[in-house]
């Protein structure tokens, strides 16, 4: 090769190397996004925290939006917000706000950025009770906000069995992300209002599991269990109990790696590297709840109770297959279709399953959305009522897979479309499941065996199209 040609290849190579190095440094140096987690009886959610002039700020509209009807309007430097019946006015660059005719001093100036009202994070403790009419507790350093009495408490005790197991009991179901490393099992609680037991460090009278620690930071709680052998976790009691202990192989051969639990073990959860904290494979939505009972299936049986029990069973089945699942209504809460869709779209799942129950008909009905035609020329925006439009093909693929699995287990199944919210507002594959009784006996809707059969078929059906659903995210 002539020498000039040889050197001609250098500039592109050098540029590529410089770009690669620059990207590596940028990625390594990328700051972790600051978040605040907000827990309430209505919804648990996280919001980004912005730093302006060394002070942490949060969007007030976004903070209140999941909690009730809210709207805001900017006019020059003034910003007015209305939450339910409470009106407030803020002025950009001023620390004094006016709420329901009274003044409130913020710890730093209110900011208005592109029509978005930002309040100092530290002000939420005094600001939100004026809107919500009840107490809130802000843990500012950890960026965790508790609205009302929503805290989830836990106890931890090592059982005197062979092998010993750490049994953690929670006051409400939990669903942490779990990861293991040599001698440690880490549980990250991003959506649960978990609070510390008496001490942040727990010590146990056990050589296998000597201690555990509790730490909260950036809107999440991390509980680390220390062990002298590899540890793995299993869930029980619908997510209210986590049992942590060594797998049988670890006891026999202590040097064995902690990863790869036996696939046949249905309750063992991933002990390999943790999945991304905010990414759920499935969002399972127990329809109705709270004031909204749904159908009266019988004198004693309300639809909201059947859907909740079924949702919890389905979560167990999905997680047993390694499909991380968020149960959207994991208690007796009233949630609007908009709130359900909002939480689902924020979680970016591969699939949204909305569960219903009915006394009419036999077997299971699977519904995809009836999506109205989207209005034209919305620019970068997506029509809320037609958000499902681009996911309809993948929704139908999931519906077909579920139907095939249910049929293979001799469950009567039917595939339809329906005008059923919030299916058409969800930006992911979305299928509604209406559980009908297997026979004339409507009480069988609530039978564990029937629900287990259907849940198992649905989980298997989703497992069959997992790759397709993941690709469709």
């Amino acid at each position: 090769m002539p020498s000039t040609e040889k050197f001609a290849a250098w500039p592109p190579l050098a540029s590529a190397a410089v770009c690669l190095l620059a990207s590596t440094f940028l990625l390594l140096g990328a700051p972790v996004e600051k978040l605040i987690s907000i827990y309430s009886n209505v919804a648990n959610y996280s919001l980004p925290v912005l730093t302006r002039g060394g002070t942490d700020y949060v969007g007030l509209l976004e903070t209140l939006e999941p909690l009730g009807a809210v709207n805001a309007r900017a006019s020059g430097s003034h910003w007015k917000i209305r939450y339910n019946n409470v009106e407030a006015e803020f002025v950009s660059g001023k620390a004094r706000a006016r709420i329901q005719g009274g003044d409130l001093d913020l710890p730093a100036d209110f900011l208005l950025e592109k029509g978005r009202g930002l309040v100092p994070l530290a002000s939420l403790n005094t600001l939100l009770p004026r809107f919500l009419g009840g107490p809130v507790t802000l843990r500012e350093s950890a960026r965790r906000l508790f609205i009302g009495d929503v805290a989830v408490h836990f106890t931890a005790q090592v059982s005197q069995t062979n092998p010993p197991r750490l049994v953690m009991h929670f006051t409400s179901p939990v669903n942490p992300t779990i990861a293991t490393e040599s001698g440690k099992l880490r549980m990250l609680f991003t959506h649960e209002p978990l609070v510390a037991p008496g001490s942040q460090t727990l010590t146990f009278d056990s050589k296998t599991i000597p201690s555990a620690s509790y730490q909260e930071n950036n809107g999440a709680v991390e509980v680390v269990v220390n062990g002298t052998v590899p540890l793995m976790a299993s869930f029980a009691d619908d997510g209210r109990t986590i049992n942590i202990g060594p797998p049988p192989s670890a006891l026999a051969t202590p040097s064995a790696p902690a990863n790869n639990p036996p696939a046949s073990s249905p309750v063992l959860l991933g002990t390999t590297s943790a999945p991304p904290a905010s990414r759920y494979f499935a969002v399972v939505d127990a329809s109705h709840g709270g004031d909204e009972r749904g159908a009266a299936l019988s004198d004693q049986l309300a639809e909201k109770d059947v859907t909740l029990a079924f949702a919890r069973r389905l979560r167990q089945e999905l997680e047993a297959r390694g499909l991380t699942t968020l149960v959207l209504r994991d208690g007796d809460l009233t949630l609007s279709p908009d709130q359900r869709a909002g939480i689902t779209n924020s979680a970016h799942p591969a699939i949204y399953l909305c569960l219903h129950a009915a006394s009419q008909g036999r077997g299971v009905r699977l519904f995809t959305a009836l999506v109205p035609p989207a209005p034209e020329n919305l620019g970068p925006f997506i029509a809320w009522d037609a958000a499902q439009a681009e996911f309809q093909a993948i929704s139908r693929a999931a519906q077909a897979s579920l139907a095939a699995e249910l049929q293979s287990r001799q469950v009567t199944v039917r595939s339809l479309s329906a005008p059923l919210r919030p299916l058409n507002n969800v930006m992911a594959a979305a299928v509604a499941v209406e559980l009908g009784p297997p026979s004339d006996d409507i009480s069988e809707l609530n039978s564990a065996a029937y629900q287990q059969l259907v849940a198992s078929a649905i989980a298997a059906g989703l497992g069959n199209v997992r790759d397709k659903l993941e690709a469709g995210r």
Binding site: P373, A418, P419
Partner: protein, 199 residues
């Protein structure tokens, strides 16, 4: 002796009292008639008579969970809007009969049907229809598809249908079927086709 102006005043007062009694009696009679009409559990009888025409009603059958076309001959008025109303009333008569293939709550009725825009039909159901409707995704969908498909099959030119309850928008029929938007006749035809076959 009683003064004359006092006698005149008493006579006027008596006349006013008598007039008021007659008026109140008349009002009570009207109120009674209205209450009796409101207590009726069936839809109002067709006001038309004369030659009949063939229509296709899409009838929901709960036992199989299907929607089946069924022809019927009914007297139809000349006006498009009145015809729409009459076709829906005929459908409701089937549901309110006993035994019913798809029972509706007592007093269910279509208050009015409007053809307000080229292609747009508005069905205004009464409160008893929605309040007494059974709750469930499939059972509500059968009702909505039956109404929409029956209307669009018999009144040419309807492309969109809106369902109101007591003249107002309502989120759902009975907790499931979304009534907040417009139903596209073409999309509902596809749903009717899905609902035509039993599992």
């Amino acid at each position: 002796m009683i003064p004359r102006h006092f006698l005149i005043a008493v006579a006027v007062m008596l006349a006013v009292a008598l007039g008021a009694s007659l008026y109140i009696r008349g009002m009570r009679g009207r109120a009674h008639n209205l209450a009796a009409a409101a207590g009726s559990s069936g839809p109002v009888s067709p006001p038309v008579s004369g030659p009949t025409e063939q229509v296709t009603l899409y009838v929901a059958y709960d036992d199989a969970g299907v929607l089946r076309p069924q022809t019927a001959r009914i007297p139809l008025p000349a006006g498009r809007q009145e015809r729409a109303q009459q076709v829906l009333r005929s459908l409701l008569n089937i549901y309110l009969d006993k035994p019913s293939p798809h029972p509706l709550g007592a007093g269910s009725d279509v208050r009015d049907t409007y053809l307000v825009d080229p292609g747009l039909a508005v069905i205004d159901l009464n409160a008893a229809f929605a309040d007494g409707h059974r709750s469930g995704v499939l059972v509500e969908e059968l009702t909505v598809a039956s109404l929409v498909q029956t209307l669009s099959a018999n009144i040419p030119g309807i492309t969109r249908i809106k369902i109101l309850v007591d003249g107002k928008e309502r989120d759902t029929l009975a907790g499931h079927a979304d009534l907040s938007g417009f139903f596209q006749a073409s999309a509902m035809s596809q749903i009717a086709a899905q609902l035509a076959t039993a599992p």
